[in-house]
Each structure stands twice: as structure tokens, then as C-alpha cells.
Symmetry: C2
Subunit: 285 residues, 2 copies
């Protein structure tokens, strides 16, 4: 893969910080620069050694950079991309780490000017945890985890190759697909599970929590995630999430209906079909 | 706690086997006897050292026993209890490990004859995993996990004390409550999460599973559980599960409605309320 001279990460939290640590661990750049909105976060990122140098200015952070990663909350990414495109040098490559792709990629591609050779390819490294903040970052977070890189009619082939190479260099399993396919897939395997986990956690009373065991703990773990971050993600992929939700409700209601009618073999059949599907995921790992 | 001479476990799978291993590890009985329906399971339980002696006959297994634990699939427990009561010696204590309590405790209490001093107290050791079978049993499964012991108008106080002492002896955190309270609580913190996890796993297509990451994995882990075992549990606690499900749907639909209307602050508020609740569970451990 290409080794970059300078890589800039805008937004150095759990994901941005883990990317920084991985780049430094694997020596994929001479310098990792972080761009921050708050000095307190800048200090924490330096202390955690997730970056080599921090700045509060996008202009200062990106002007000499070869590769720029937007790792802020998803709704902010297009606005920040606009600034980055203004100040990035010719030939710079921009990518992001946002959880939804279609509206974001569309917006950023419309911001790019043919007169200025700055390139963008959307990415979604699918790693993370219920924690947030650079303190939880670790250089192996992306190792062996899926990373989707998006391709559109406007994608530059050479840039696509470099972005794919970058994530592979961090140890991720890269898949290339359209922004729309990405959004549909993640609505099922990430956004919907979060929505359902938040709903479950919201349902249980504090009294009952005392008896909760491993099953409840795992099923609702992702409901510990940052609420505003996930409100962002839900809004940014609203259409696909609502579609996935309807399919979830369909399966759920089938079980409920069979249970209400005490149809034992129908309940068992629905649970077994679900179990068989889930077991394929485990085998695939 | 009371040390028993002979303890019998009927149904030596994940839970029954873990109880056997824990009794032997903590030397709470002179002999642990297992009762089986299949010789293959008997051999596996002996090989795994979960019991000292195995038999295919309930009569043989319980006739000299001081303490008898029914750890079969939940729908079978009352039928087996009827046999056990017939052959148990005077003064024997019977308990179970079933996931629902009210119908089961009612049924067994009605089987008890005042003329024969055999005692029953319902239990629910809330440990387990998505696995089943004695191969996955381990002597620390119950350690620090909640165990609910039920009390009714017919419960003998002395027996209650011995059953509570037994589970505490295995390291469990015991709570005493009525069978109805138990069923309401577990419908929220165990049965409903299983129902939702099965529904989620049933919704996702195999293609999308390729991109699934930690969030999906944890949220749907319990959907790897034995389908017939869980169909049993769902049917046995049908009324309470359907009630809990309605509360879940209420919360879920609030989020969906706010999302459909793009009401960002309402979505964020609902997610934050759920997150705050879930975070109380983590702190409690």
C-alpha cells in the first residue's frame, strides 16, 4: 500500500483515535495530525499518543496533508468536508468514517470542484463499541473487522485503490459497494439492532434490572452507546432504517401471533429459522 | 448450609450439569446422582464428571435422595415432578431450575399429598448461555449469578431455608419472591430480550450477515439458543411475555414515530432515557 507523508484525522474519538494509533503502530505515515474543536480533547489525544500533533484549525490541519479522514459525528461530516476541500492541497485524498453513506457521499461529491484535483471516497470502518472518547481507542480495533468503501459513478479508480489499501493496511476486511447498498446493509446489521436494543433497555424497569443476567446484558449492550451520536446516525439513514424496521416487525409479529394462539410448533419453527440464520454468522467468523 | 447425603439431578444438560459440577467442587453432597432419558447423555455426563452415578430410572434415582433438582426442559417439569413425588423418600426436598414459575409451581403443589411429607420449593437459577448440553457445563456458571426462589402460601419455611441455602452454597445471589412476580420480572429481563433477538436474527438476510460486526453479534447472541427449549419457555410464560411485549412495542414505536417525522431531539431524548436505564444495570454489577 501507499505510505503517506502526512495523514490528518478530523475528530479524534474512539474511531478516529483508533485509526491514529493503528497508523502509528503500523508506520503507515510519517506524521499523524489531529484536528479538534476542544483543547481538552486535543490534550487527551496527545496524552493517549493517538496523534503526533494537534491543531484547532482545519486549514492548519489539512493544508500539507496527503490523506484526510473525517471521523466526526456523521451529521457534521459534509460541512467539515466543505472546509477541508477548500484548504486541502492538490492531489489530497479525503475519506470518512461515517456510519451512513448515501446522503453524505452525494453531498460531498457535489461540493468537489472539477477545477481543483482533490479526491473523495466514502468509507465505513465497522468497528466500535458502546464506549466513546479517545481513552477507549486502541490500535487493534479495526483489525479483522469489516470496512465498507463506497464506489459511485464519480469515483476515481486510483483514489479508490489507495483508500482500500489504507484500510487493508490497518488490518480491516474491505468490501466495495455502492453507497445505497451500504446503507441498506448497515440498516439491517447495525442500525436496526441498535434501535431494538435501545427500545428493550427503555422498556425494562429499574426494579427488574436487579435480576438481569448475561442474556439481557448482551442483548442491550449497544444501548450504552452515545445517544446523540446514534440519533445522528438514525436520522442520516432514516429511510433504510424504517424499511428494515418493517421487516423486523413482520418477523416479530409472526412470533407474537403464534404465541398468542399457543401454536407451539409455529413458535418453534420461527425460532429455529432465526437460530439457523444467526448460526451462519458465527461460522463465518 | 445443610450438607446433603445424596442429591439427584434430573436432566443433566448445561444447567443440570453445571449444578452437578458445582456441588462436587464445593463438596455439598456425598453423592450426586443423575437421571437420564438417553444412555448417550448419561455417558457424556459421567465423562464430564458432572455426576457420580447415572440411572435411566426416576425411581432408582430418587428413592434414597435427600435433595432432588428438576432441570429438564420447562414444560416437562410438572410431569416428572409427579413421578418424583411418588418415589421420593419421606422428608425429601424437591426443587427445579425452570425458567417460568407460576403454572409450574401451582401444578406441582397440587400434586403434593398432605399424607406424604415430601416438600417442594420452586427455583430459577438465572445462568446459562446460548449453548446447551453437559459439555458446556461448568462449576462456576452459577457463581455470582441471580437465583430466584419462590414462596407461596403453601411453602414450608424450613424447606425454603434449605433451598435458599443450597443455591447460596453454589455461589448464587438468591432473591425470594412470589411465582407471579418472578414470571413478570423474567418476562422483561430474559424472555422478551430472547424474543426480540430471535426476531432480529430472523430479519437479517444471509448476504448482509457478511458485514455484521460486534453490535449485531452481541444483540443477537441469545438467538443461538435451542429453539424448542425457548418455544417451551415462551409458551409456559405466555401471558407475561405478551404483556412485556406490548410495553416494548410502545417504546419502539415512539422511536420509530419520532424518526419517521425526523424529530431529532425526540429521538435523542428516547435513546438517552434508554441509555441511562441500561447504564444502571452495568453499575449494579
Amino acid at each position: 500500500m501507499t505510505k503517506f507523508n502526512k495523514i490528518t484525522i478530523i475528530g479524534v474519538g474512539l474511531i478516529g483515535g483508533s485509526i491514529g494509533l493503528a497508523i502509528k503502530k503500523r508506520r503507515l505515515a510519517c506524521e499523524v495530525i489531529g484536528v479538534f474543536r476542544r483543547t481538552s480533547t486535543l490534550r487527551r489525544a496527545l496524552k493517549h499518543k493517538a496523534i503526533d500533533r494537534g491543531t484547532m484549525s482545519i486549514e492548519d490541519g489539512v493544508k500539507d496533508s496527503d490523506f484526510i479522514i473525517l471521523a466526526t459525528p456523521v451529521l457534521l461530516i459534509p460541512t467539515i468536508a466543505r472546509e477541508v476541500i477548500k484548504y486541502a492541497k492538490k492531489g489530497a485524498i479525503i475519506t470518512d468514517a461515517g456510519s451512513t453513506k448515501e446522503w453524505l457521499v452525494n453531498k460531498i461529491e457535489r461540493t468537489l470542484k472539477p477545477s481543483k484535483p482533490v479526491f473523495f471516497v466514502g468509507s465505513h470502518p465497522m468497528a466500535g463499541s458502546e464506549h466513546s472518547g479517545v481513552e477507549f481507542a486502541n490500535g487493534d480495533l479495526l483489525k479483522d473487522s469489516p470496512c465498507i468503501v463506497t464506489k459511485t459513478g464519480r469515483t476515481n479508480k486510483n483514489t479508490l485503490g489507495k483508500v482500500v489499501g489504507f484500510w487493508k493496511g490497518l488490518g480491516a476486511r474491505v468490501e466495495i459497494m455502492s453507497p445505497a447498498s451500504h446503507d441498506r446493509s448497515v440498516s439491517f446489521i447495525s442500525h436496526l439492532p441498535h434501535l431494538v436494543a435501545f427500545s428493550l433497555a427503555g422498556t425494562v424497569s429499574e426494579k427488574e434490572l436487579r435480576y438481569a443476567a448475561e442474556g439481557f446484558k448482551d442483548t442491550t449492550r449497544v444501548a450504552l452507546s452515545d445517544a446523540r451520536l446514534w440519533a445522528d446516525i438514525f436520522l442520516s439513514n432514516q429511510k433504510e432504517i424504517l424499511k428494515s424496521a418493517r421487516l423486523f416487525e413482520k418477523y416479530y409479529k409472526k412470533i407474537i401471533k403464534a404465541l398468542a394462539r399457543r401454536k407451539y410448533s409455529e413458535v418453534a419453527r420461527l425460532l429455529e429459522a432465526a437460530r439457523a440464520k444467526r448460526s451462519k454468522f458465527t461460522n463465518g467468523r
